[in-house]
């Protein structure tokens, strides 16, 4: 009620009056917004090199215009590009289905533990891999599971059949996905744990007084408390869905081959960056950004249709 009457009142004021009224909030927002504009949007102007044959020694002004040439790498329908797009979409799907929910499930699992101590210990162990760089993670996976790694060395010296995991093209997408789960699931739980701790405990008490089972509590109290943040994170992830990891993949590309490992970011690297084509990288960045905007806006709309907040309200 209060909300609605305010909105009406707001519409009656002119923009200047409203801004004057909100001067404290404007002041609050100023430093952060200024920093984003200065260090994000101003350099974004430099992305005009997407339309240039940019050479650092000539400068942005001095480089020749090249029209849409830099975009050709995306729009020329090259089979190598389509292959990269296919792998990217496969990985995006795998990541949405397996990587995204993993920390939510883990947070719920941890949350449902009765022993506070076990919960904390488990959480403190599982977040650790987040701090390893991909170089180390890839090396560790190889040394544990590779053809000459600990597992296979053991199997071989006991005359058992070895397992072909690392460098196996067929398993590569699965391997990438499990590496991400291994590295980041524990870390990603902390946001959900924070959301869980924000849930009003009286709701649980009320539910248990009503004799609700644990399952029903999960469904009627916990999930509604988490839903907002889950949807928010999912929409933000969607905006980034053409990014499926660069360093992790390029470090392992040699072994499995580009047929299964080339994704958009490695494609841009192998076809532009490696030859000093800064314009191509900028062009692909622009296209990815536009795709991201479309996906985020669309997802947000869908969220609104289902009565959710999304990233921003309508």
């Amino acid at each position: 009620m209060l909300q609605r009457s305010k909105t009406r009142q707001q519409q009656q004021l002119s923009l200047g009056q409203r801004l004057l009224r909100d001067k404290v909030l404007l002041l609050f927002a100023l430093p952060g917004t200024a920093l984003i504009v200065a260090f994000h949007y101003v350099p974004l102007l430099g992305n005009v090199i997407a339309f240039k044959d940019y050479q650092p020694f000539l400068g942005i002004g001095g480089s020749d215009w090249s029209g849409w040439e830099n975009f050709a790498v995306i729009f020329n329908g090259d089979p190598a590009f389509l292959r990269a797009l296919k792998n990217t979409l496969i990985l995006t799907c795998l990541q949405s289905i397996f990587v995204f929910p993993a920390p939510i499930l883990l947070a719920l699992l941890l949350n449902s533990l009765f022993s506070e101590r076990i919960k904390r210990i488990a959480q403190s162990i599982l977040y650790l891999p987040h701090f390893m760089s991909w170089v180390i993670v890839v090396a560790l996976f190889q040394q544990m599971l590779g053809g000459g790694g600990l597992l296979n060395n053991y199997l071989r010296s006991h005359d058992l059949a070895t397992l072909d995991i690392i460098g196996n093209s067929e398993l590569f997408h699965v391997l990438l996905t499990s590496q991400i789960i291994w590295k980041d699931t524990g870390w990603a739980t902390i946001l959900f744990l924070a959301a869980l701790s924000q849930i009003d405990s009286q709701l649980y008490e009320a539910a248990s007084v009503d004799g609700a089972s644990r399952m029903r509590q999960l469904w009627h109290v916990t999930m509604p408390g988490l839903r907002g943040i889950i949807i928010l994170l999912f929409i933000l992830r969607l905006g980034d869905s053409l990014t499926v990891g660069f360093e992790q993949i390029i470090l392992q590309q040699q072994a499995v081959g580009r047929d299964v490992s080339e994704v958009l970011d490695t494609y841009v690297y192998n076809n532009g960056v490696i030859g000093g084509a800064w314009g191509v990288a900028a062009a692909v960045g622009l296209v990815k950004g536009i795709v991201g905007v479309v996906l985020v806006l669309a997802a947000n709309k869908v969220a609104h249709i289902f009565g959710e907040q999304g990233v921003y309200s309508r």
Binding site: F57, V138, G167, Q254, I274
Partner: protein, 541 residues
């Protein structure tokens, strides 16, 4: 992989005979306005004046490196005046190792400043990140006085013209004699520093020290009763590899597939071959199919470490040092590196294989890339050309001089201990000396390992053996715009295919059509540009 981009883009030494006579045989990109081959041809290269004060124990030639059994006692101080002008000099480079202590905590660096007579301010980046660092500083217009410029840099001639000093006047012909240690760098290395009709940089020479062949653990082979292995053909070679493999004990002969070696066996040329003005890429050679088939057989026979396709360089070195592998394909520089990383005790011993033909006879090894990088001086530098060249000259003082001893080993007591006349580096020495001075300029590598005279002896012996058969990259010193822009991209596709074929995931028959695609997507253009450049150079003679 074995044919790394490093070797491809670096190029190899051009005909050594030309170098000896000092004939200025130069070329550039004919299509480029200012960098025409004819213009480059007009440049008289620096006269080669060999520094005669040092007498090597194992004398080299213009190809074979000088060998030393021990460091000369009482090394001569070859430069009397401090080269610096008292003002700080800035330098930007990549460094191959861990970051050394900063200037204020690095006694080597401080002593260096003292000897140079100018503070050397070095801005460093690791190998991986140097291209980004380099590009941003170029774009920002704040280049240091001395710049390490990778030979793979896109549009190198135009970049140098815009940003670097023209050194022709100071270095061309006899003028170089003012800087005796730059004059001590053989003419062939200067060929890679000529652009836009002028000398635009100082070379950081490598050449022979980068020649890459199979290194083997002589001690491990001896334990199996094999001494002086000299396989006569591929079959022989494969049998040797099988002998050195025991998968059940986690031992494999090789750290990786030595594809470059197999290609040499199959008579594939070194990068680009020139015959009567016609250029042929090594990808086009018929021998590739045989080499790939041979590599595939090696993988199938299980003589290659199963993780070789995903392993990092440091892992391969561990396998070799730890005896998990007894063969690795690498250069003379790596040979020395193996000794410094050795954990296998005194028995540890490394040697190098010669190249037989796939079906017998002798094959032609590939000469290593001539240059590591070109060092240029910024146009905006406040220092005089003379000062900067004197610094470069100081950095090129050869093995045997006091300057070299300090430059590579530091100060006695802190950075190395003297054993006889040999400097044996301390841990502090290894940490503090790695500040990248070798990328300002350098003398040719000398074959030498402190306290182990058998190492230079073995290295010298193999170099003498292969010297006459070495194959050179005909594209060295010829600039191709397409190669600099698209080379890495189109070669990457073939490298990927090579790996798939070797692992048996794709058939060898896929190679020929892929090379056709390579030609149509840039290879043919590169060939054309190289041929034009070469013709312009030859025509101007």
């Amino acid at each position: 992989m074995p044919v790394s981009r490093r070797s491809f883009l670096g190029g190899g030494l051009a005909a050594a005979a030309v170098a000896v006579t000092g004939t200025p045989l130069l070329a550039g990109c004919a299509s480029d306005k200012k960098n025409s081959a004819a213009a480059n041809l007009a440049v008289k290269l620096p006269t080669y004046v060999k520094y005669g004060e040092i007498k090597p124990d194992l004398p080299g030639t213009d190809v074979v490196l000088d060998g030393f059994l021990k460091y000369p006692a009482n090394p001569v101080k070859a430069i009397t005046d401090k080269p610096g002008d008292g003002q700080p000099i800035t330098f930007m480079t990549n460094i191959p190792g861990a970051i050394p202590p900063a200037e204020d905590k690095n006694q080597f660096w401080q002593a260096l400043n003292d000897r140079l007579g100018s503070e050397l301010q070095i801005s460093m980046a690791s190998n991986d990140e140097y291209p980004d660092k380099f590009a941003t500083r170029v774009a920002g217009g704040d280049l240091p006085d001395i710049i390490n410029i990778p030979t793979t840099t896109v549009q190198l001639p135009a970049l140098l013209k815009a940003k670097a000093m023209d050194l022709t006047e100071q270095l061309s012909g006899d003028a170089v004699k003012k800087y005796p240690f730059l004059a001590n760098i053989p003419t062939v290395y200067w060929k890679g520093c000529v652009f836009n009709g002028g000398i635009y940089g100082v070379p950081v020479p490598r050449g022979m020290s980068r020649t890459t062949l199979p290194l083997y653990r002589a001690d491990l082979l001896a334990a199996k009763g094999i001494s002086n292995p000299a396989p006569k053909n591929f079959e022989d070679f494969l049998a040797l590899c099988q002998e050195m493999t025991a998968a059940r004990e986690n031992r494999w002969a090789w750290t990786r597939v030595p594809l470059a070696y197999l290609r040499q066996m199959a008579d594939v040329p070194n990068q680009w071959k020139e015959e009567g003005g016609k250029f042929t890429s090594f990808y086009e050679a018929e021998g590739n199919a045989d080499a790939l088939e041979a590599g595939r057989k090696m993988v199938e026979a299980g003589v290659i470490n199963p993780d070789s396709f995903s392993a990092k360089a440091s892992q391969r070195k561990q396998w070799f040092n730890g005896g998990i592998a007894s063969f690795d394909i690498d250069s003379f520089v790596a040979w020395n590196q193996y000794y410094s990383d050795n954990t296998a005790g005194d028995a540890f011993s490394v040697n190098m294989l010669d190249v037989p033909g796939l079906n017998g006879g002798q094959a032609k090894p590939w000469m290593g890339a001539a240059l590591n990088n070109v060092t240029a001086f910024s146009k905006d530098s406040k220092h005089s050309v003379d000062t900067l060249l004197k610094i470069a000259n100081w950095m090129a003082a050869p093995f045997g001089t006091e300057e070299y001893l300090f430059r590579k080993y530091g100060l006695e007591g802190r950075h190395y201990a003297l054993q006889g006349s040999d400097p044996v580096p301390t841990k502090t020495g290894i940490v503090e000396t790695g500040i990248g001075t070798q990328y300002i300029s350098d003398s040719a590598l000398a074959l030498y390992w402190p306290g182990k005279p058998d190492v230079p002896q073995k290295q010298h012996a193999i170099q003498e053996k292969i010297a006459s058969r070495l194959q050179y990259d005909a594209s060295y010193g010829l600039y191709s715009e397409t190669m600099s822009k698209d080379g890495a991209r189109i070669n990457g596709v073939l490298t990927d295919l090579e790996n798939q074929i070797l692992q048996g995931k794709k058939p060898v028959s896929d190679w020929a059509p892929a090379v056709k695609t390579w030609l149509s997507s840039g290879g043919e253009k590169i060939r054309g540009e190289l041929q034009d450049a070469f013709a312009a150079a030859a025509g101007g003679k």
